[in-house]
Symmetry: C2
Subunit: 144 residues, 2 copies
């Protein structure tokens, strides 16, 4: 496995691991105010999506699609945001984020300026649905 010294995503999982394969892991990001914020993190230290071959890209996007599908099914967000940026940590990871028209940054990106304070009751109400999402996402029989 390819690792780079000092890379935070080589040295740690980068969040609460919900699913893990030899190729990638799916983690819940620790981002307050965004209970449905997941990352698909490639295990090898690769910089860009196009550093993967076609089979790797397909596998990676299949995981992104699975997370988006389960976010829609369980969390019913206003919109799903998907992004691979990596300007800060150039180790391939896809953000897959449930966004709501009442969240702190909507309709801006989560990286943009905060627009409002989030109602804690709305966040709290999502937690049982998130548990159900994560139970389904964590099921075995995941392709390598």
């Amino acid at each position: 496995m390819s690792r780079e010294a000092g890379c935070p995503l080589c040295e740690a999982d980068g969040g609460v691991v919900i699913a893990r394969t030899p190729s990638y892991r799916i983690v819940r990001a620790d981002e307050p105010g965004f209970p449905g914020f997941y990352r698909v993190v490639w295990n090898d230290h690769v910089r860009e999506f196009t550093d993967l071959d076609g089979a790797g890209r397909a596998l990676c996007m299949q995981a992104v699609v699975e997370v988006e599908t389960l976010i829609r099914r369980h969390l019913q967000p206003t919109k799903v945001n998907v992004a691979s940026l990596g300007n800060m940590v150039a180790h391939l990871h896809w953000h897959v984020i449930a966004r709501y028209d009442w969240d702190s940054h909507f309709p801006g990106a989560v990286w943009a300026a905060q627009q409002r304070t989030t109602d804690p009751a709305r966040l709290q109400a999502l937690l049982p649905h998130r548990d159900a999402l994560e139970a389904e996402l964590g099921k075995p029989a995941r392709p390598a």
Copy 2:
């Protein structure tokens, strides 16, 4: 073709069209300070990436991969940013953006706060390379 009244990406191309197929177009975004900022816009009005079937998703990501590949080849950015957000315009489009460590927002997202003023000479120097990129991207023989 599915269209929605009032949707800016149903009513206009959304940028300078570099390539067009029956399924999608690739446009250069009008984003000052970011000369290598492209969007893959799905022609039909679909909201989420997972509203496409597997064949549509593969075709769409193949276009994203092609843009990223040509950005890397011709513009040699510090990092490529790829994102499908759609909070403002919920019509499927992928941003594919050449980022440089000297650009106005790096290492932040382009949607985050500006960090510096960009040197116009550096932007200018990219333009011939962008022309070469777009000549290659605009070549015919693109799968539908």
